[in-house]
């Protein structure tokens, strides 16, 4: 049977939700793992909420379409927590962006990580735009779904040209959050 | 003996299927004569419409293809991307261009396509047997308006040259007719200018040729010419709408 890890990342458009998923996907690919990334698209995109699912596995991934039993759930805003909390499997990992989410999860059969992305990004990196990378770092360090070490290679591929100067701050952001 | 007039090499030696008194033959010959004189018969690619002139490729001695109804300007746009230096033209009637194909002609002009369109306006559907066209004049009878076009019921005829000339991408727009030897010479001049505009890549060139359809108008060839002059020209004035300085 496959060891696929099913990850859902959800939030407002503009919070870097799709980007967090893509970074995880690049990392998995560079670690020679199988990966699929699937966005929500269409009217939802325009209505201000966005989500994507990422499957990472050591063997070929059958269905890219996942709607429940996620191993990891990342919620960047309140509505996403309300909508998707039930879809996390028992024992799964829930990451909450507490800078934005002001409601509490209701389940007790899961691991909960509270990440104040915006405050960490502003106080430690001095750049609010790295909030999504603070969350990405938290996910990687807590779940080990990909290694932190691979991220420099990912950033070198993704941030090219003028964006290359963003790499040090983003690498720093990955390790900025303390539990 | 020196010949003073010859069959143009641009026309294949085949008998035309057009009705007696129809002016498609004159328009065909003028376009082919111009291409022959420019030495471009070997490079030209033409697009024929759906309508009486669908088989124009049987007569014109150049590479040609048939377009779905109304889509000739889109087809020509595609050809021009593959052969940007070839003289490319569409030959379209009023049902094809002014009814089913209005979107295509408008957008070819909008994109300032570097090909020519020759628009044969005879104010009726010929091939299908005389139905009303968007260009049918007020009061003119057709098989789908047997009492004559009534503005209260069918609205008013479209003036395509006027519409096209409003579009910045259309740089050369002229309406001509072929009812007298003098008109024929002027029409040929307009066709030449259209190919000049294309060769210089100045933009979209559009020549409307007012034409007769004696069969579906129910007139003799000579009466048809008279009817065109008395009825069509007042509504569709023969004139040059725009012309770039370069030609």
């Amino acid at each position: 049977m496959s060891d696929v890890k099913k990850i859902l990342i959800a939030g407002f458009g503009g919070q870097g939700v799709l980007l967090i998923g893509q970074m995880l996907s690049y990392a998995a690919m560079y670690e020679d793992k199988e990966v699929t990334w699937m966005p929500s698209y269409g009217p939802e995109m325009r209505g201000g909420v966005a989500n994507c699912t990422v499957n990472i596995s050591s063997s070929p991934i059958a269905s890219p379409v996942v709607t429940k039993d996620f191993d990891v759930l990342i919620v960047m805003n309140g509505p996403s927590l309300e909508k998707f909390e039930k879809d996390l499997k028992p024992g799964g990992d829930l990451f909450i962006n507490t800078s934005i989410v002001d409601i509490e999860p209701t389940r007790s059969d899961i691991n909960i990580y509270r990440v104040d992305c915006n405050e960490v990004a502003e106080s430690k990196i001095g750049n609010a735009k790295t909030a999504n990378m603070v969350m990405l770092g938290a996910i990687i360090r807590k779940t080990g779904v990909v290694s932190l070490a691979i991220m420099e290679k990912v950033f070198n591929k993704v941030f090219t040209g003028k964006k290359a100067k963003l790499i040090p701050a983003n690498l720093q952001a990955l390790e900025a959050w303390d539990e | 003996m020196k010949p003073v007039f010859e069959y143009t090499k641009g026309m294949r030696e085949k008998e035309l299927h057009y009705c007696p008194g129809c002016t498609h033959g004159i328009a065909h010959r003028l376009i082919m004569e111009v291409l022959d004189e420019r030495g471009q018969l070997g490079d030209a690619i033409g697009v024929s419409p759906v309508g009486c002139s669908i088989v124009a490729h049987q007569y014109m001695n150049i590479d040609m293809l048939e377009s779905p109804h109304g889509r000739a300007p889109a087809v020509a746009s595609g050809i021009k991307r593959v052969h940007p230096d070839a003289p490319v033209f569409t030959y379209q009637g009023d049902g094809d261009l002014a009814s089913i194909g209005t979107a295509e002609i408008i957008h070819a002009a909008e994109r300032s396509e570097k090909f020519c369109t020759f628009f044969i306006n005879n104010a009726i559907y010929g091939m299908t047997g005389g139905q009303m066209a968007p260009t049918t004049l007020v009061g003119q009878k057709a098989t789908t308006c047997v009492d004559g076009r009534d503005p209260k019921k069918q609205g008013f005829p479209l003036r395509m040259s006027e519409i096209i000339s409003q579009i910045d991408g259309a740089v050369y727009v002229e309406r001509v007719t072929v009812t007298t030897p003098g008109d024929v010479r002027k029409a040929k001049k307009a066709i030449e200018r259209a190919f000049d505009v294309q060769e210089k890549k100045l933009g979209f060139a559009f020549v409307e040729i007012l034409s007769t359809c004696p069969t579906n108008w129910g007139l003799t060839p000579t009466d048809a010419i008279k009817w065109l002059r008395e009825n069509m020209i007042p509504y569709y004035p023969v004139k040059q709408f725009k012309c770039p300085e370069e030609v």
């Binding site: 049977m1 429940k68 | 293809l65």
Partner: protein
């Protein structure tokens, strides 16, 4: 093959086409395939080709006709309602034997429908959405890698058969990202002489050296049209002999055989693993060509098979009808489906399979 890149399906389709020597693309915005025209608008000119954003799908398909008839390697893409709009010209392209490749990133229908993945265009693409006696050759990829490989191959098949080829993807494959290794970049024949050398039938201008080409679709004498159809029809018989393609999944001991294509076949594959874990022996035939339909795959099914189930995203079971036709009543055939843009998930396929088999 290049090194693996993480690519969105639609963007990968465009890259694979350019690598196959495609230099002309004409398109009109429609979700969920917009990344194809967006990519082509940025990249085709750099490859020496041309892109036009058409005023409609009608314009796009006819621009494609003009470019392909004059010898260009042409890609079109759209989604279901846009493909419907193009059908008149797909029929015409078949009648004048002009090759193009068309990607349908299918969404829910009928009408304007939904923008999520669907497979309800099966009959439209395989049974000839346009008028008259013709077929389109149809490939159905189940991953981005396979889509790229099929698109790359489709240009050669289109040229060989001088016929439109449709690559039938869906919103899931168009919108998802997967690692993909792109096929090697090929050069395209550009310019009159090079085109005339590889496509002697193309409109390039006769250069006063050959008889003019007249590409005609109208036949005012019906007996001549009948003769003409007889002339080109053998290529469809050849396609049925040579192009059928499919994947077999655990058929050796299968008592239940799923038939599924495209992204749905991946859901079915996951369901097979789950059902086998419960002792239910399920296998699958995955058509990789929808036309010609892989009838040969079904000839091999033996006495171990008790039930065949079409797993697809269409209400009426459009794929199921072809399955029933080739089986000729040999096994009971059932349907597991969602539609309108709703997707199947593996659990639902497992549960409905058990219902059909009356297994608790």
């Amino acid at each position: 093959m290049s090194e693996k890149q993480l690519l969105k399906g639609n963007e990968a389709f465009a890259k694979a086409a350019i690598n196959a020597g495609c230099r002309y693309y004409f398109g009109y915005p429609i979700t969920p395939q917009n990344e194809v025209p967006e990519y082509m608008s940025r990249e085709l000119a750099n490859a020496g080709g041309a892109f036009i954003q058409a005023g409609s799908e009608l314009e796009a398909v006819n621009m494609a006709y003009g470019a392909a008839a004059s010898g260009g390697r042409v890609l079109l893409s759209s989604s279901s309602p846009g493909i419907a709009l193009m059908q008149e010209s797909i029929s015409l392209l078949s009648s004048v034997e002009v090759p193009i490749v068309l990607i349908n990133v299918m969404r829910g229908g009928p009408g304007i429908g939904s923008i999520q993945a669907s497979q309800a265009d099966y009959e439209q693409v395989t049974k000839g959405g346009g008028n008259g006696d013709y077929h389109t050759i149809v490939f159905a990829p189940s991953s981005i890698q396979e889509a790229c490989d099929m698109i790359y191959h489709a240009f050669d098949v289109a040229d060989e058969y001088r016929n439109p080829v449709i690559v039938c993807a869906d919103g899931t494959i168009g919108q998802m990202m997967e690692p993909v290794a792109l096929p090697e970049a090929k050069e395209a024949a550009m310019g009159d002489e090079a085109i005339a050398a590889v496509k002697p039938w193309a409109l390039t201008g006769h250069k006063n050296k050959r008889e003019r080409h007249a590409m005609n679709s109208v036949w005012l004498q019906q007996d001549l049209l009948e003769n003409y159809i007889d002339e080109y029809w053998p290529k469809y018989e050849k396609a049925e002999r040579e192009l059928q393609d499919w994947e077999e999944v655990m058929l050796d001991d299968a008592e239940v055989v799923f038939v599924a294509y495209g992204s749905t076949s991946r859901v079915a594959k996951e369901a097979i693993q789950a059902l086998r874990a419960e002792g239910i022996k399920v296998g699958m035939i995955r058509p990789k060509t929808l036309w010609p339909f892989p009838a040969k795959a079904f000839e091999k099914l033996g006495d171990n098979v008790k039930h065949v189930i079409s797993v697809e995203l269409s209400k009426g079971g459009q794929l199921m009808h072809d399955v029933k036709y080739v089986l000729g009543g040999k096994y009971p055939v059932s349907l597991i489906n969602r539609y309108g843009g709703m997707l199947l998930d593996p659990d639902e396929v497992v549960a409905r399979t058990k219902e059909i088999l009356e297994v608790k």
